[in-house]
């Protein structure tokens, strides 16, 4: 399991946004998804998120837990309810809708 935690506000024990990205090895789709996700989070969820990356090739057991079929899959663990976004997250607008995140510009 590769955990990439990027807490920008260390005083907050648990980030408001708990995101988990399931990938399968270092496939182009997986890498693209991770890159897209990081960029999006930095832009719109700065300081409020935590990203966990799970490589199913290394830990296939975990696929069943979050009902993963498609790869890559982004799972919003928190805030509830759980949401899933499948694909390489290339369409930022759709990812934001899927995560139910208000774009920064709109704030």
């Amino acid at each position: 399991m590769t955990t990439t935690a990027e807490p920008t506000t260390p005083e907050v024990a648990r980030a408001e946004w708990q995101l988990r990205l399931y990938v399968a090895g270092q496939s182009p789709k997986s890498l693209a998804a991770l890159e897209n996700l990081r960029r999006l989070c930095k832009t719109h969820l700065a300081g409020q998120y935590e990203i966990e990356v799970i490589d199913l090739l290394k830990d296939p057991r975990l696929a069943a837990g979050d009902q993963i079929l498609a790869v890559p899959t982004l799972v919003r663990k928190l805030p509830e309810p759980i949401r899933k976004i499948i694909g390489d997250l290339s369409n930022e607008a759709r990812v934001l809708v899927g995560l139910d995140v208000k774009p920064k510009d709109a704030r």
């Binding site: 399968a24 079929l69 498609a70 790869v71 899959t73 390489d88 369409n91």
Partner: protein, 583 residues
């Protein structure tokens, strides 16, 4: 299993009764098989049994990946077939993986593949060394994933992948309209396709199975009825049944001594099938009950399938003719399964019978009546079901008694006849203002049997057979028989009396003759005495005469016979001569 073709293509037995017979050994090993059918056709059940039997009977662990119901639901569902998935999962023989997709929870952005599914499946397979895989129902993915282009490509890859891993897989799919599957899965699975069907005819549902395609193998192409029973599926491949059961030479009593006598004295053969046919109220059930009673008396188990009366009603009714089946039931020697024929389809009845017979292991099975199982007597179904049942019973050396209600004609029985070894025909004989029951043995294979019509008498003390009276061209039964018997008895008595009277007459006549003879004899004796007397007199007369003559001569010669002839002699001679004159 038997065809030479099958040797070239390895097959994995499903363990499902009948299916392996149709497919000649099972599903193609290491390849996917598509099982499609409408909702409720039994796809999941077939898939489950394939997996469970593989794990328990053939040492092939399996992965059940389900998309529609969760593991708990599936476990509960297949428990009704007697499969304990939880236990098998604990023993690492089976992995249950529930794949849940909720369309509303999923957002799609950009490129993806189903590697997650592959990884999950691969992990499950590796964790127990699975050889079998069930995907039930893959088509749920079409609802869950919007991008069908990706999905189709991934499914194609999945089937390839399953083949590469050497998995014997069953993939279920929903049938829709004219096509085999709603989303055209048959495109991808080309090796073996099985179609399940659930049809309702005359309010009675029947499940059917057909092997549409089996690449590289011969297979039965018919539609076969199949059933989901307490012990799983059973397909009824009528045409592939073999006639290779053993034939017992042991005879078993029918419980009616006079009837046994009609069968070379010992009853019917063990393991044979007996048809008892007759119109309403001819006593079929009673004969069946007698069979049961006799079997239980011997300490054997008997199983009764009743389709007309409840168990209690049968017990009561049989008690009225002196057959008490209650104790046998309490002792566990008798089991009664009573249900209305319309409760289930014919096949379902058959499977119920199968299950009951397999569980109870009886020596005798009575079906009362088998004709009630169908409304339409011309139907082929009954025959097929019967063939299946009879063969099953014969394989197990169980004697079967099948009652059949006739509706005037014997057409139904004619169809059944070839299946039956012994056929008892019961008839109502209406004559002289009353109805009487007669019985005769129409056929009994492999044994001498009586050709006589007997009267079948049901009384408070049981069943008995009476010789019927055949006079002229008429058979006498009931009171006519009794009257005839009385007449005959009277005739016998009369003949006896006449005989005695004649004997007496003879005796009297003889006595009279004897008396006559005695009288005659006495008379004859008297005559004889007279005769003797006369003869003696005559002789004496002759002597005297001779002497007289001499004396006379002497006297004439002057020779005085002084001392020789006394006066007495003179007197005597005188009287003799006088006597001679009178005589």
């Amino acid at each position: 299993m038997h065809s030479p073709v099958t040797t070239s293509l390895p097959k994995s037995p499903t363990g499902i009764t009948g299916l392996d017979e149709i497919t000649g050994g099972g599903l193609p090993t290491g390849r996917p098989t598509l099982v499609c059918g409408t909702a409720g056709a039994g796809k999941t059940m077939l898939a489950s049994e394939f997996l469970v039997r593989g794990a328990t009977q053939f040492g092939e662990p399996g992965v059940f990946m389900m998309f529609e119901e969760n593991a708990a639901e599936l476990t509960a569902n297949v428990r009704s077939l007697g499969f304990d998935l939880d236990q098998l999962a604990e023993q690492k023989k089976v992995v249950l993986d529930y794949v849940y997709i909720e369309r509303s929870e999923i957002e799609e952005t950009g490129e993806y593949d189903l590697e997650g599914l592959f990884i999950r499946l691969g992990y499950a397979i590796d964790s127990i060394g699975a050889k079998r895989v069930v995907l039930d129902t893959l088509e749920a993915l079409f609802a869950g994933l919007p991008n069908h282009a990706i999905l189709r490509a991934e499914l194609r890859r999945l089937f390839r992948w399953l083949k590469d891993r050497g998995m014997t897989a069953v993939i279920t799919a929903e049938r829709a309209g004219e096509t085999l599957t709603r989303h055209g899965l048959e495109e991808y699975v080309a090796d073996c396709v099985i179609v399940l069907d659930h049809r309702v005819t005359e309010q009675i549902s029947t499940r059917r199975l057909r092997v549409v395609k089996y690449r590289g193998s011969a297979h039965g192409t018919n539609e076969y009825p199949f059933l989901i029973g307490e012990r799983g599926l059973s397909v009824l491949p009528i045409t592939s049944l073999r006639l290779d059961h053993r034939a017992s030479t042991e005879q078993m009593s029918t419980g009616i001594p006079q009837l046994d006598e009609m069968f070379a004295g010992g009853g019917v053969y063990r393991g044979s099938s007996v048809l008892v046919s007759g119109a309403a109220g001819t006593g079929k059930t009673s004969i069946g009950a007698k069979f049961i009673d006799a079997a239980c008396r011997r300490g054997e188990r008997a199983l009764l399938f009743a389709y007309e009366e409840s168990a209690d009603q049968i017990l009561r009714n049989m008690r009225s003719i002196g057959i008490d089946l209650g104790p046998w039931r309490e002792k566990g020697l008798l089991e009664i399964h009573a249900s209305r024929p319309a409760l289930n389809g014919l096949e379902q009845h058959l499977v119920t019978m199968h299950d009951a017979v397999a569980k109870f292991a009886p020596a005798l099975v009575v079906v009362d009546p088998v004709s009630n199982l169908i409304d339409d007597p011309s139907s082929q179904n009954l025959n097929h079901t019967l063939i299946r049942l009879i063969d099953f019973l014969k394989q197990a050396q169980i004697t079967g008694v099948f009652n059949s209600l006739t509706h005037g004609s014997t057409a139904t029985e004619a169809g059944m006849s070839s299946l039956m070894d012994t056929w008892l025909l019961l008839r109502n004989l209406e004559f002289n203002g009353e109805r009487n029951r007669t019985l005769y043995v129409l056929k009994s294979r492999g044994m001498a049997h009586s050709n006589q019509v007997r009267e079948f008498v049901l009384g408070g003390d049981g069943i008995s057979l009476a010789e019927v009276y055949v006079g002229g061209d008429r058979v006498f039964t009931g009171t006519a028989r009794v009257a005839q018997e009385a007449r005959d008895r009277a005739a016998v008595e009369e003949r006896q009396a006449a005989h005695e009277r004649r004997m007496r007459q003879f005796a009297a006549k003889r006595k009279a003759l004897e008396a006559q003879i005695a009288a005659l004899q006495a008379e004859s004796e008297a005559d004889f005495a007279e005769l003797n007397f006369a003869a003696a007199q005559n002789e004496a007369g002759a002597v005297i005469e001779a002497r007289d003559a001499e004396i006379m001569a002497r006297l004439r010669d002057g020779i005085a016979p002084k001392e020789e002839i006394s006066n007495d002699e003179k007197a005597l001679a005188l009287s003799a001569s006088q006597h001679k004159e009178t005589a």
